[in-house]
């Protein structure tokens, strides 16, 4: 138990460091700019019609306060941290007066639902197929699968999504290509709405799975083909242990451990994936929110989504890290 506590403390320290550096990066990036976001917002707001100088001045003052640009640099830094800690990023400028927090809370379930589910499916499927391909190395269909996985793996996500969109949207229009669910349905736990959500998620999920599969497949295949040559596997084979049992309890179980650490990294990539997927398929999640916020010049919303993604990714990685000893008892000994 003491070993586990030490392990936990170390992981937790790493988690705090990630959050600290991530948030500081966000702070430095927003402050190191040669452009004044306030003057930009004012220029945007006053480009239509006339505004009196007093109104502009009042706007400038309230914007400065909104952006946390009042007071000394140290005070500004502390204000920044207080906002992060209380998750208070003020009202959104593009959807005034809805608070940034409410916008993110509305979008987050979509992103987590789509990306967590497709990441897990990709992980399970890729490892399963890769494990089989590594164990049954002579199988022709598994070899063919390997070539397809290698071929798809390096293609940038955007291109795959675009091709799927063209195939299922224009050439053979059977699936909805945009949105999270049909607009005319009441949201809630009823069959029609959930079915619509599922149908709308097929294309984005498929694109994510197609692109992600190759990495897991290749990694697992090479891990398994290494493990198969280990003494203990040869011994088990000679001792007449059932092949299926060797594959599942001897080979896969061991090969899965390094892959599990990879899952933590894949979770980190969720927000990278979300932005493009949601943009291409018009999915109402956090990524789409971020892109729209950048287009609209909504400073609070951009900052809110960025810090939220840093914190939630770190939490996800922490959860995987602390559950790792449950899978690999050797970790406790360190």
């Amino acid at each position: 138990m003491r070993g586990y506590l030490q392990y936990f403390a170390k992981r937790f320290g790493q988690f705090l460091l990630v959050v600290f550096i991530g948030i500081n990066l966000a702070y430095v990036i927003t402050r190191a700019t040669p452009i004044d976001p306030i003057e930009q917002s004012i220029a945007l707001a006053t480009s239509f019609g006339n505004s009196s100088p007093e109104a502009i001045d009042a706007m400038r003052r309230s914007l400065r306060e909104l952006y946390g640009l009042t007071g000394t640099p140290i005070e500004q830094y502390l204000i920044f941290w207080r906002r992060v800690a209380t998750a208070d990023f003020g009202p959104s400028l593009s959807a005034f007066p809805t608070p940034v927090g409410a916008l993110i809370a509305r979008a987050l379930p979509w992103t987590i639902g789509l990306l967590a589910v497709s990441t897990l499916i990709t992980f399970a499927l890729g490892n399963l197929l890769g494990g089989l391909a590594g164990y049954y190395q002579r199988s022709r269909s598994l070899k063919a699968l390997g070539i397809i996985a290698i071929g798809l793996h390096p293609i940038p996500y955007y291109i795959v999504a675009l091709v799927l969109l063209i195939i299922f949207g224009f050439v053979w229009p059977v699936l909805p290509i945009s949105g999270g669910a049909a607009m005319n349905l009441p949201q809630g736990f009823n069959a029609a709405f959930l079915g619509s959500v599922a149908r709308h998620s097929i294309l984005p999920a498929l694109s994510l799975i197609l692109v992600g599969l190759g990495g897991w497949f290749l990694g697992m295949r090479s891990l398994v083909s290494n493990i198969v040559a280990e003494d203990y596997v040869v011994y088990a084979e000679l001792a007449g242990v059932e092949r299926r049992r060797i594959l599942w309890s001897y080979v896969m179980r061991n090969a899965l451990l390094p892959q599990f650490t990879g899952l933590a990294m894949a979770l980190g990539g969720i927000f990278n994936g979300a932005i493009i997927t949601e943009r291409v398929f018009g999915y109402p999640g956090v990524g789409a929110l971020l892109v729209d916020a950048v287009y609209a010049g909504d400073y609070g919303l951009v900052l809110g989504v960025t810090t939220m993604s840093i914190v939630s990714v770190s939490v996800g990685v922490l959860v995987i890290d602390i559950s790792y000893p449950l899978l690999d008892p050797r970790v406790e000994l360190k």
């Binding site: 320290g13 790493q14 460091l17 990630v18 550096i21 991530g22 990066l25 966000a26 990036i29 927003t30 190191a32 700019t33 040669p34 452009i35 976001p37 930009q40 290698i150 071929g151 793996h153 390096p154 293609i155 940038p156 996500y157 955007y158 291109i159 675009l162 091709v163 063209i166 224009f170 090479s222 290494n226 933590a264 990294m265 980190g268 990539g269 969720i270 927000f271 990278n272 932005i275 493009i276 943009r279 971020l290 892109v291 950048v294 010049g297 400073y299 951009v302 900052l303 989504v305 960025t306 993604s309 840093i310 990714v313 770190s314 990685v317």
Partner: protein
């Protein structure tokens, strides 16, 4: 164990490596042709717009009155240069950090590696978008390359570190120390050659990674769209609704070329990885040069 010898070996025995070399060769020729382009790359409406592929315009022309083929040559060149610049800069970072961390060990290693893990975990895309958000039009090509190399070194530094850690325990390192070599000399002369194959394969992967991000950022319109790149071309095609308008050649050819680049680089990295697979590498090295 020199890099040149490994490359020769791969060229002879690895199908993937040969495929990669051929694909990248075609892409490189395309990029080199940009210097022979009859049209200035930034000018628009120099030819009739929306002409399908024909003898005069092999890949057709865009709705902005540019020849797709010649535009593509410049775009490929810029995209490749971008990838190489990012890979080169981030290789320096990952080499220095990986070598020092692996060789020194102790608290230096611990500090560098927790920094390293942090950069592996932090979601890059939101940060890059935040960066674009504050920089807007002053976000240049070079600046983006600099930021991305600053963010893209971590994973490979860890890989290099693990190799150096095992090199450190080997005899030639001890011989080096006893013969009075400084740490820098040991790292540069003794360990570097062993690390180079890994650096080569991670370079390919890193070029892929940075080009992928660049294409994605450009397609979303979050880069300097005045510099022609592959992503920039797709961005402008989308702006003019090329797919809906039936100007498919404006999108199809850039996509084909970028896919060729990706598969080519990936094949090179893959064949190199197979070559330096830890098990076969150790058996080869202990039997051969050591």
């Amino acid at each position: 164990m020199t890099l040149a010898r490994i490359l020769r070996h791969l060229l002879r025995y690895s199908t993937e490596f040969r495929l990669g070399v051929i694909l990248l060769g075609v892409v490189a020729i395309l990029a080199a042709l940009s210097f022979a382009s009859p049209y200035p790359p930034l000018d628009v409406y120099v030819v009739a717009p929306d002409v399908p592929p024909s003898r005069a315009h092999v890949f057709g022309t865009t709705s902005r009155g540019q020849d797709v083929f010649w535009q593509l040559t410049v775009a490929v060149r810029n995209t490749l240069l971008f990838g190489i610049a990012v890979a080169f800069l981030s290789r320096i970072l990952s080499l220095v950090i990986g070598l020092i961390s692996g060789y020194k060990g102790g608290w230096i290693d611990r500090v560098l590696m927790s920094l390293n893990d942090t950069f592996i975990i932090i979601p890059l895309f939101p940060l890059l978008m935040l960066f674009y958000f504050v920089m807007r039009d002053s976000m240049t090509w070079a600046m983006l390359a600099l930021i991305m190399s600053f963010l893209g070194w971590a994973y490979d530094a860890r890989l290099i570190r693990s190799v150096v850690m095992s090199l450190k325990r080997r005899e030639f390192t001890q011989t080096g120390i006893f013969s009075g070599m400084t740490t820098r000399e040991i790292l540069m002369r003794e360990h570097m050659p062993h690390v180079m194959p890994i650096v080569f394969s991670t370079t390919m992967n890193n070029i892929n990674w940075s080009i992928g991000l660049e294409v994605t950022l450009s397609v979303l319109g979050f880069t300097d769209n005045n510099t022609p790149t592959i992503g920039g071309m797709i961005f402008w095609a989308n702006q003019h609704s090329a797919m809906v308008a039936g100007v498919w050649w404006w999108i199809a050819f850039p996509v084909a070329v970028v896919v060729m680049t990706f598969v080519g680089l990936f094949c090179l990295a893959l064949s190199m990885n197979e070559y330096i697979d830890p098990r076969s590498r150790w058996s080869r090295m202990s039997g051969g040069s050591a």
